[in-house]
Symmetry: C2
Subunit: 214 residues, 2 copies
């Protein structure tokens, strides 16, 4: 496969298309048009065609895309034809909510270890996992060959935890809240800032009479 | 102002630019170039210029943008020159984490009511808020003129809560997890699907040797 330069917004939409396509597949739908995908997920048909075009010629004019093939291809692009072990640091409210998050297992993400430095939390069970001290991170990461870490600790502790995870061999980090991390070049970091999501709401509330957002 | 058609990805980046600009402002920085913004937030300078160009001519060639002006303008676009009262439904782990989320107050979002239908939770205090029964939603929404609701309840209950909020007058909803809502046309819904964020990580892990993502 030749080197691709795919905008992150496209990657995010592919992830969303694949969920819609899986719902169609469960209903027994065999083929789908870009217009149907567009309506299903709320973007324009042109956007769907452009996003899928990053991966070469798909679909048959007038017939559309084969649903199963398209799902498989998108999952392959997203790296989801295998399952991914994940470690979670932080067993507070957010961490506890994340261990119960239904959306992870559906997509092949399995939390294999939960860690905290709070003696009151260590040893407690969350779902079917026992909270472990931070010292166990390297052993668990090595044992399961974990590449992905989720950091759900107070803002002030995030950088320290990131460094521990990276030293243990984790190469991709998901963080929460307004943090800026200093990590080596090879480490992928993405952040969930929930205020950004609220700002998309306020933008739409303020501007919806003036425009239609893509 | 003429009708704008701004891609949602741009809105999201504006939100992120404004955070970076606020950090610069705190350091006493007066002007900034698109290149500096780009490096600060990890996108290309062309992307920054394109995003800001949606709002007409800004900045002075060779001098750059005035930091304070740019912050003010972006906040105005995002609807953040006022503060927004928010109601939160669901006082479980996720809801509790959200009430403590530092990023909201910084951006003018104030949670004015937390609701749950669990008798064991009603009456408990989370931060400085007492958890109220769902029946109180209409009164609180009316009293504070709330337009934004955050839904942090189990997937199966999300649609019902959305309907209650919309009936009470809420016009923008933030949901979590893989849900699809049926709400009236005028209601703005955005969803945080944390698995999508993990998929952006796996995409990058799988493809980073083959390409550089924007």
């Amino acid at each position: 496969m030749k080197a691709l330069k795919i905008p992150e917004a496209t990657v995010q939409r592919l992830s969303i298309y694949s969920r819609f396509l899986e719902r169609l597949d469960k209903k027994g739908v065999i083929t789908v048009s870009s217009g149907e995908i567009a309506r299903g997920v709320g973007v324009s048909p042109a956007q769907v065609r452009k996003d899928l075009a990053y991966f070469g010629e798909f679909g048959t004019r007038g017939v559309g895309y084969n649903v199963k093939d398209l799902i498989h291809y998108i999952l392959k692009i997203l790296g989801l034809t295998k399952s991914w072990p994940v470690v979670l640091v932080g067993a507070g409210n957010l961490g506890t909510a994340l261990t119960a998050y239904k959306g992870f297992a559906d997509r092949g993400f399995k939390i294999v270890g939960v860690f905290d430095n709070d003696l009151l939390k260590i040893g407690k069970r969350i779902q079917d996992l026992e909270v472990m001290p931070l010292e166990k991170i390297p052993a668990v990461v090595a044992e399961h060959d974990v590449k992905i870490g989720i950091i759900a600790v107070p803002i002030g502790a995030v950088q320290n935890i990131a460094s521990i995870l990276v030293d243990a061999g984790v190469e991709a980090l998901l963080t929460f809240g307004p943090v800026v991390l200093d990590v080596p070049e090879h480490v992928v970091v993405r952040n969930v800032d929930l205020a950004v999501k609220l700002e998309i709401l306020t933008f739409n509330l303020v501007f919806r009479d003036l425009q239609s957002v893509l």
